[in-house]
């Protein structure tokens, strides 16, 4: 249950081909994250799976059955919208009950399921309130409750955390991950935040301009990015890229080294540089060092007493050096 197959799925808006023919397999019970910059088509792809948009070409299969022409209601999927899309004129209980009412369940059954979902999400005290009287996090949970109660084959999340403040976002991230552990249902999750992707996903699909750049586990994408785009997108702070003579020395057009794989020292190292802005968090120190090969970001653990204007030496961990050719593709 919850196996989704996309074969040659294409989407055109007028003359613009927003998603060129795309193939993807989503296994049962997987937590798949679509990630990419704004406008890369990740939300569009999600909506195609949901049935809220028609495909221009291609086939969408759900559990082996062709669902391409099925309306959203008949695909057995549930969606949590970015703005939660709660029914403002209905109480929390009625919001959660709505899909069950549409499915034609009787009142007793509906009440039972709503109570169960509310209990799981800590919403029991709010069942009679209207969405307007709830906080952002509570509304988020009602939206999830409305999705859970349908016992769908898969959950679709469209950037559900982007309307929440930072602290809440961290909490909800954990809650959603826990939910996945307990329900074990397929989840397709769209976000532009690569931290969410890395922490929550079983499998990440990196998209750009409608094309899949790479599919893999978080660690695969981190350790072996397939091209410049994925290398620069995954990992925060961004990977440092160096072109020119230094890259040529390593037989590549571009080399990349992550900030956490650069060690910094006052005295000795491979590349000399001058510290620009330095950010001291106590747990880490982020230093922006101007070198002959461009400004490099360094992430050092703990506190490093280097400040603006200081001279420093950087040494890359050569085992973690990434090499890319003229087309941006990863080498070796």
């Amino acid at each position: 249950m919850g196996q989704i197959e996309l074969k040659g799925v294409t989407k055109r808006f007028g003359d613009a081909e927003v998603i060129p023919p795309l193939n993807l397999s989503i296994a049962e019970g997987e937590f798949v994250v679509f990630v990419g910059p704004s406008g890369c088509g990740k939300s569009t792809l999600l909506r195609l799976i949901a049935g809220l948009e028609d495909t221009s070409a291609g086939v969408i299969e759900i559990d082996g059955r062709d669902a391409t022409d099925l309306p959203p209601a008949r695909r057995g999927l549930a969606m949590v919208f970015q703005s939660y899309a709660l029914y403002p004129h209905m109480s929390v209980a009625r919001n959660i009950a709505f899909p069950l009412k549409m499915a034609g369940l009787d009142r007793v059954e509906i009440e039972r399921k709503v109570s169960a979902a509310a209990a799981v999400l800590n919403l029991t005290a709010y069942l009679d309130r209207k969405p307007g009287q709830l906080s952002g996090g509570q509304r988020q949970r009602v939206a999830i409750g409305r999705a859970i109660v349908r016992e769908p084959k898969a959950f679709l999340f469209d950037e559900p955390l982007s309307n929440l403040d930072a602290a809440l976002r961290v909490n909800m991230r954990l809650e959603i991950s826990e939910l996945h552990q307990s329900l074990k249902t397929t989840m397709v999750y769209v976000t532009h935040d690569q931290v969410e992707a890395m922490t929550m996903a079983d499998k990440i699909v990196v998209l750009q301009a409608g094309r899949i750049e790479q599919v893999g586990t978080p660690m695969q994408l981190y350790r072996t990015p397939a091209n410049l785009f994925v290398a620069g997108f995954i990992g925060s702070p961004k990977m440092n890229f160096i072109t020119g003579s230094e890259a040529a020395r390593h037989h590549a057009r571009t080399i990349g080294i992550r900030p956490e794989h650069l060690s910094i020292s006052r005295d000795a190292g491979l590349w000399q540089g001058r510290v620009g802005v330095s950010e001291h968090l106590g747990s880490d120190t982020f230093l922006h060092v101007a070198t002959d090969h461009g400004t490099l970001n360094v992430r050092a653990g703990g506190e490093v007493a280097l400040y603006h204007g200081d001279t420093a030496w950087l040494t890359p961990d050569l085992a973690q050096l990434h090499r890319f050719d003229e087309g941006g593709r990863a080498l070796q």
Partner: protein, 290 residues
């Protein structure tokens, strides 16, 4: 958002409105066009005959037509001036902090909701009547001879009545627009050293410009078809002194029973109104982008 299924449903649901409006536009208008080419008088049924553009010739060369055009422009122009200027001033006033602002607003808005026949008759009889009207009483108290408004200045008097009715509309629109002005802009201008007159001229006026355009264009459309006020006060007279294009067509069609002539007049009115309409559509069209 849309899928094939919902798109089809969409087309189905627009159709009644479209078909009805299409019919409402085309059928009567086509008939008017047709009649305008006939010599057709209701008092002599059965003598209809095709006369080409004769009706138009008669209508456009009738001295009453020129008078009517002049009157129409004077009426519409006069009312526009009064309502736009008055409306702006009132809007500025109502935007100020005052006690009982809500009540004042209700007082100012009220005339718009009075039906045209009532306001016309109330003004005609209880204010403008040279014997018993309040203006006459006031004149006598000041030792002046009462002014017979509707006999001596019929068009201006009607303009006064119509302006009284439409001033609330202009005020309300302009007040709404004024209140949508971001106070931050004004405060920024103050920080930049702009005095009250400068702030008014450089920030308030441009912001209101769009609303004023809307007011002018919408009112023009409605003012062109002013009818009840004329019917009930002067019947277009004395002579044709207060006859507008709309009233002229009415007189020809329903009072003189000259269907052919009235139809030609109607077409002329349609052309006139459509010219104005084109500008209005361009204005409203910009709103659709939002």
């Amino acid at each position: 958002m849309a899928t094939q299924a919902s798109r089809f449903a969409g087309h189905l649901m627009i159709s009644p409105a479209m078909i009805l409006l299409l019919g409402w536009m085309i059928v009567p208008l086509a008939m008017t066009l047709y009649f305008s080419l006939l010599r057709y008088n209701l008092l002599q049924p059965g003598t209809e005959a095709y006369t080409g553009l004769t009706n138009y010739r008669y209508f456009l060369t009738d001295p009453a037509f020129l008078t009517a055009m002049r009157n129409t422009l004077a009426l519409v122009g006069g009312v526009l001036v009064i309502t736009v200027i008055g409306g702006t001033l009132l809007a500025l006033l109502l935007d100020q902090p005052i006690w009982g602002r809500g009540v004042v607003r209700v007082l100012v808005i009220a005339p718009f909701f009075v039906m045209p026949t009532v306001s016309a008759l109330v003004w005609k009889n209880m204010f403008m009547n040279p014997v018993n009207g309040l203006f006459a009483h006031a004149a006598k108290a000041l030792g002046l001879a009462p002014f017979d408004f509707l006999a001596q200045a019929p068009l201006a008097s009607i303009a006064l009545i119509v302006a009284w009715q439409w001033l609330p509309f202009a005020t309300l629109i302009l007040l709404t627009a004024l209140q949508s002005l971001d106070r931050d802009q004004i405060e920024a201008a103050e920080m930049d050293g702009a005095g009250p007159l400068a702030r008014f001229g450089w920030i308030v006026v441009p912001h209101l410009a769009r609303a004023v355009t809307v007011v002018i264009l919408i009112q023009t459309i409605f003012l062109l078809s002013t009818f009840a006020e004329i019917l009930v006060t002067t019947n277009g007279g004395p002579g044709t002194a207060s006859t507008t294009l709309t009233y002229l067509v009415y007189v020809q069609s329903l009072l003189q029973f000259d269907v052919g002539g009235g139809a030609a007049g109607g077409i002329v009115a349609v052309v006139l109104a459509n010219t104005v309409a084109i500008f209005l559509m361009r204005m409203i069209g910009k709103n659709l982008e939002g």
